[in-house]
Amino acid sequence: MSLRSKSAAVAAIVLLAAADPGRVARAQAIGPGFELERSGRYADAASVYFTTVRSDPTNIPALLGLERTLFVLNRMPELLPLVQNARARQPDSHTLRSLELRVYAALNEPDSLEAIARRWAASVPQSEAPYREWGLALADRRMWDEARRAFLTGRRTLGSDGTLAIELAELEQRVGNWEASATEWGRAVTRSPDALANAASQLADALALMHDRIGRALMAPGASPRARRLGAEVLLAWGQPTEAWAALEPTLVAADSDAPGALRRFADLAGALTTPEGHRVRGLALARWADMMAGSPGAGRARAAAVRELLDGGDKVAARRVLEANSDSNGVAQAALIQLLIADSQLDLAAERLAAPSTAITADDRAALRLALARAQIARGDLNRAAAALADDSSVAAIAQRGWIELYRGNLKNAMEAFRVAGPYATDRAAATDRTAMMAMLQRIQDETSPELGAALLTLARGDSVQGITALRRAAAKLPEQGGRLEVLLLAGQVAAQKGGDQEPTAIALFDEIVRIAGEGAAPPAAELDWARLLVRNGRPAEAIPHLEHLILTDPNSAFVPEARRVLERAKGAIPKS
């Protein structure tokens, strides 16, 4: 604070004191009351508040302090005459009127409470406040039926369907009547759209068995568009995006001024869902919003985001429809379209568009598309075109990708070299982990080439696990027992275990074979750990325990021992599931 400001503040205080020195003194006198109350000395605090009220009968902080402390001390009757006196002096004070109602409620005098509330209502005939405070005072005392009657009396008297709807909605929720609460929230948002966020958040907490009833209450025939939109948001919160979109879409037909805002909010909320269905619905909402706001600065970005979401949601048809309806020179849209073509296996067309000279697609997007195209070519089994797609890209991500292509060709040495050059940071962590695991396997193999192993890994990369497992076993058979065979068998076992179902016996047979052969290297303990994990996963922890104990006792220095101990703890139920 500057010197000038300080002077002004001091002057203001001096002027205030001069204007009403008694008020300043009273304000200072009440201070110790708050401190005493904070430290739990309620009786002493009440004495301070009483003293203040005696000299200033309408001092609201002191009266509220008495309300808090006398309630705790079970001395509420002492407050009533003070509040009545204050209200008589200031009959227009909303705070004092409310306080009087609460005191009657605390004294358990509902008849007097009603009489006082009705007198207040008569003095302000258009106001909801008397009925609100009357109902809330009763609700605070957990007198639910009486509170409901008070709110409904207000609604009838004031004549509007949405009157006191928020209060009624919260009351019904507190008593567990979720269906009635939803109906009231529907009325509340119909009357005031500002209540939407609060309503959706409250209804989202409902128990699962109440969801159907709440949905029906909000989307009953004749429900307002706002109530239906509330229903859509609640469905989203419950993780039902498709149903949510089905509820929202019909409300967008009539172009009301709320629609764009509701749509945008819906899209944002859908962004919290990570399921394909959630992505798809968010994409649909964004695309619709972009159409509605055509020409606005955000429409183009929203459309591009919609395409990405639709692709993530697996709805290529909708994504392509969005792109085709908005063919322009926007680089984001062009990149999205190529991404869509790759996802749709139209690789030649994608390659053609990617090769076309265009300044619209950014260099980063172009590199990412090249990698995606190469992966798609690998998945098709066309290693030459995959290599061609990478062209002369010298990024570490492209080098890592070339490493995989070399591996699938059976050139193990070249693959190792490429992975080493790419290093541990190229692309994301999962891909880096995959490369490291593959290098660990390859370094046990002395041969520089193994077309069988390359072909087996390519089969796996193309998504044919069953054939891949068979091919890996064939490739392993050609390797020396301590020269990579166990590691390749381990990979086959891990793939079989991951696939589950009828492949589990194969996985167990492979793990068993590796453990029986034993020898040097990390494969035997890794196989035993995976074997135990598979058993635990299948609800057979008792069978897993001997394997884990065997691993720990026979390979005490293995890097897998800490993890084996952890799985052992879980198998024994010694550490809780979190």
Binding site: R38, S39, G40, Y42, V72, L73, N74, R75, R174, G176, L207, E549, I552, L553, P556, V561, P562, R565, R566, L568, E569, K572, G573, A574, I575, P576, S578
Partner: protein, 432 residues
């Protein structure tokens, strides 16, 4: 083993112990002649918590073990058997075969503030807990499970039916013996777990013939007091420490808010409390506000007390004379002397509310509260440890339970496990 046996049997050997210290006559405990495994409990130990389980298992199987107080963090000595070696290897517990080296170790123990206490009988452990799963964890249950120490869960019906006599050691945790549901009734109104807790307690009160839950809990508290008087070992943490004493002191006065028993608390409750019935505390003032989840001014930290809440510091364990005061020495065995504090609904104990004669085992230096206390009552003993979960300082309702495999060296959890093994000790009478 009940405390009276414990004291009697120890009395026979302690004279030798102290005399040996003066005359250089003989060691406290006859040296083991068979090969032994030393379980070091200093920083070289790879899983401190499981080491307690291994020792428990040894004595559970009728083997002799020893607790080497203050030697390398409070190490254990167990027979060198293949089965125990195997358990140690499986659980990642470091052990050291000792044979001739033990002579030097025993010499070191004799010459320093150390002692060797025989561990003879595995105590039968009971944990007082409701049958349903509460949305908070229980540090002792987790420690016992992790260490592999068996225990039985009991609740009000078992306590009132006299089943406590079947157990040597009883643990209480986050129980509100004032019968006010930890005063969460208003704050967490509408939560399903609270509704279930209220229902379950109300049903139990009706079933056992009590008018309301606070009356039931007072009766349970009195039964637990009787258990200790008759030689039981009581270990309590968190809310149970404060509320069991409040419930005992309030045997003839209503200290429960209206929501708990339908009647307001007695406005003169403070004056009517009978602290002669309490274990540890005296002269406390009740927190009368039903909206504040605090019970009295016994707790120094007042975690839910708004402006009264105090920040967490660190507590320091006291050093006791191992040969003269073996009981408190056992309870503070640790590889750390200063340990970070952790909150609970009752976190600590205000010094000026402790009864004279209570042994303080750990305190926060310079603070008006202590953390860890111990005392005798009749033929038994009690130990109170403030806070909820030593490895989750800010534990909130609904947090996932602590995974102790991530905290195998937890010094806070070691204090809990000291209490579990302490009744196994063949105790010597205090010389002071």
């Amino acid at each position: 083993m009940k405390r009276r046996d414990f004291v009697r049997s120890v009395g026979r050997t302690v004279g030798l112990s102290v005399g040996a210290g003066i005359l250089g006559f003989r060691p406290t405990v006859r040296p083991s002649v068979s090969p032994s495994l030393l379980i070091p409990m200093d920083d070289s130990q790879t899983d401190h918590l499981k080491a307690y389980g291994l020792t428990y298992k040894a004595i559970q199987n009728g083997l002799k073990a020893e607790w080497l107080l203050n030697y390398r963090g409070g190490s254990f000595l167990i027979p060198d058997l293949d089965a125990l070696r195997r358990d140690a290897a499986l659980n990642g517990i470091r052990t050291e075969p000792v044979d001739s080296a033990m002579t030097a170790v025993r010499g070191e123990i004799e010459a320093n503030n150390m002692d060797a206490v025989p561990l003879e009988k595995a105590p039968k452990v009971a944990v007082y807990a409701p049958p349903n799963a509460a949305p908070w964890d229980d540090a002792v249950t987790m420690a016992l499970q992790y260490a592999g120490i068996p225990f039985t869960k009991i609740w009000d019906a078992e306590v009132m039916n006299g089943s406590l006599k079947d157990f040597d050691w009883l643990h209480l945790h986050h129980e509100d013996f004032t019968g006010q549901y930890s005063k969460f009734f208003l704050i967490y109104s509408g939560m399903s777990w609270l509704a279930e807790m209220v229902q379950r307690n109300s049903d139990m009160a009706r079933r056992l013939g009590f008018q309301n839950v606070p009356e039931l809990k007072k009766a349970v508290a009195r039964s637990i007091r009787g258990y200790v008087e008759n030689g039981g070992f009581l270990f309590a943490m968190c809310t149970a420490t404060e509320t069991i004493d409040l419930a005992l002191a309030a045997h003839s006065v209503d200290i429960a808010a209206t929501f708990a028993d339908g009647t307001p608390l007695d406005p003169d409750a403070d004056a009517k409390l009978d602290w002669s019935q309490a274990f540890a505390f005296t002269g406390a003032h009740i927190e009368t506000n039903p909206l504040v989840a605090s019970f009295s001014d016994i707790d120094g930290h007042q975690v839910n007390g708004g402006a009264r809440r105090q920040p967490l510091g660190a507590y320091k364990l006291f050093n006791f004379s191992a040969k003269i005061d073996p009981v408190p020495t056992m309870l503070v065995q640790n590889h750390r002397q200063v340990i970070p504090d952790f909150y609970g609904l009752t976190t600590s104990f205000t010094r000026n509310r402790l009864k004279p004669g209570v042994t303080i085992l750990a305190e926060e230096e310079g603070a008006p509260w202590v953390k860890y206390t111990h005392g005798d009552l009749g033929k038994g003993t009690w130990t109170f440890f403030g806070g909820h979960d030593p490895e989750d300082p800010q534990h909130q309702i609904g947090d996932p339970p602590t995974d102790l495999s991530l905290h195998p060296h937890s010094p806070g959890y070691r204090l809990i496990l000291n209490n579990v093994l302490f009744p196994a000790a063949k105790k010597r009478e205090l010389k002071t």
